[in-house]
Subunit: 306 residues, 2 copies
């Protein structure tokens, strides 16, 4: 099985397509990585690249993109709604398959060190790579944004993990870290009673003692006229869509309400889909390497690396 | 979505790894195709390559492999248990995604014509590409094998679809055709009564008026001490694993027997898995392009084609 890491770096340019194109080129011309998407947001004046590849090659491509962004973006002239501290604002590394979170953390640390050493951009580690508990969340690292951090970076509290306590004159600072793949998953209840969705959300979410890796809220969805348990699954190795679906069904039925369906928003790894299929068909001895597309992908990735 | 065709040609050499390696090289050095596997069988003195790629490139790679086999294999010196008529014995083309059966039939016809024209190997069309009803099955085309066909090829009944009615002096003749992807799928019954498995097989198989694209037999499986409905699903666009599973459950329950599980033997396209997952989770508006591996595969295939 090919070892795959996903990277979704955010850059502080969302209006000039030629700049974003040049940063994307730095990724797409890298060996061993595949650029899956490039999105610009004019209001946020921010863009996101999505690419996947083998671990070292993903880190190299992220470094090259960061170098290019530092050449092309001047934070002194940047404005936009979204909080940010640098030209390359944040570089999340996500283990997709055959790679542990620990390996991704190590990868993010060496990438952060390299950006500080070679590009002279101070870097912060966040999420699973955070060096301090108060740096796990992006929002705490971004406090004061580029403008405020110019001064506060010199304080002990805001000192970067790598590099001098001084913003790069045009590129600011960059946040790097490993985080799990995240699946956005919603379950609909056959009721308009949003309070039931909220009660179930509270029961199942991790922070209130529920299922590991589950963030959950209850909403009323106008379009379907139904209550919805809206979730982010942040650790598929612990809690899968099938596991939360089963639990929500049980909690809803205990209150006499049925589940009417569920939805996956955005991308999902095939393993999360496969589990539900295995359950539905009572599959015996099914190995996910039997899925043709996965085998093809592995063959293509190993050719890509030759 | 990348347009993908699978090709699993059979060659009449299963003992000399250097010969099989050279034929495999003709495939792996082709642009736009990925060699997934190469298997040799000494008793059958036969080998099978499995490769996947975009339609025209798959046909080109199959042609090159056929040319190489004609240079390296002498049918006058071939013996083995498996019936065969040529150095490249049969070239099945299978639509995997984004390609219709009609397109695969057209592809197989032009490949068969090219092999006859350029390599002077007479070719027969079989399965979905067959020009006559009696040539749908391989066994009827292989009747008499290489040795017998030397004479009988001159008769009207055995005249090839392309090329002169005369075997290639060393490479014999080749069968080419399009056939659907095939999933081997078994459902286990909670009984030792094989007669129930046989009755259900008869009810669901196409040839007895059952479900389209289903071949089915009933067996007793010693290992599990259970009766098994053993199936080949030859048209997933008509009948999926979930559809037959549901039907077998219904037929078994009507006789008071439960289904204990099922198994997929070998490869399966992700779409067949996805359907069961969508059913299990009641997924709303799920699009299979949301499956990350599929999207990666598409991106890699389009890069492969650049």
């Amino acid at each position: 099985m090919a070892r795959l890491v996903e990277c979704v770096p955010n850059f502080s340019e969302g209006r000039d397509a030629s700049v974003v194109g040049k940063i994307a080129d730095a990724v797409s011309s890298s060996k061993g990585v595949i650029l899956l998407g490039s999105e610009m947001d004019g209001d946020h004046n921010r863009s996101v690249l999505t690419f996947v590849g083998t671990p070292d090659e993903v880190a190299d491509a992220a470094f090259e993109a960061c170098r290019r962004a530092a050449e092309l973006i001047d934070m002194n002239r940047h404005s936009g709604q979204h909080p940010r501290i640098g030209a390359t604002d944040v570089i999340p590394l996500i283990p997709l398959q055959g790679v542990t979170m620990e390996e991704c953390v190590a990868l993010s640390i060496s990438l952060a060190r390299r950006i500080a050493d070679e590009l002279e951009i101070p870097t912060y580690l966040y999420e699973k790579s955070a060096s301090r508990e108060d740096r796990r969340s992006l929002s705490s690292i971004r406090k004061g944004e580029y403008e405020g951090l110019k001064e506060s970076i010199q304080t002990e509290e805001r000192r970067p993990d790598f590099g001098k306590p001084e913003l790069h004159p045009t590129a600011g600072a960059t946040v790097v870290g490993a985080r799990p793949v995240l699946v956005a998953y919603n379950v609909y209840l056959g009721t308009e009673d949003v309070s039931l969705a909220k009660r179930i959300a509270r029961k199942i979410r991790e922070r209130d003692g529920g299922m590991p890796g589950v963030k959950a809220l209850g909403f009323f969805i106008e379009k379907r006229k139904e209550a919805q348990v809206s979730m982010n699954l942040t650790d598929l190795s612990m809690t899968t869509p099938l596991a939360v679906f089963t639990r929500v069904v049980r909690e809803a039925e205990a209150e006499g309400v049925s589940v009417t369906g569920s939805e996956i928003v955005g991308m999902v790894p095939v393993s999360a889909i496969s589990e539900a299929a295995e359950d539905r068909l009572g599959l015996i001895e099914f190995d996910r390497s039997q899925i043709m597309e996965g085998r093809l992908l592995d063959a293509l990735m190993s050719r890509e690396m030759e």
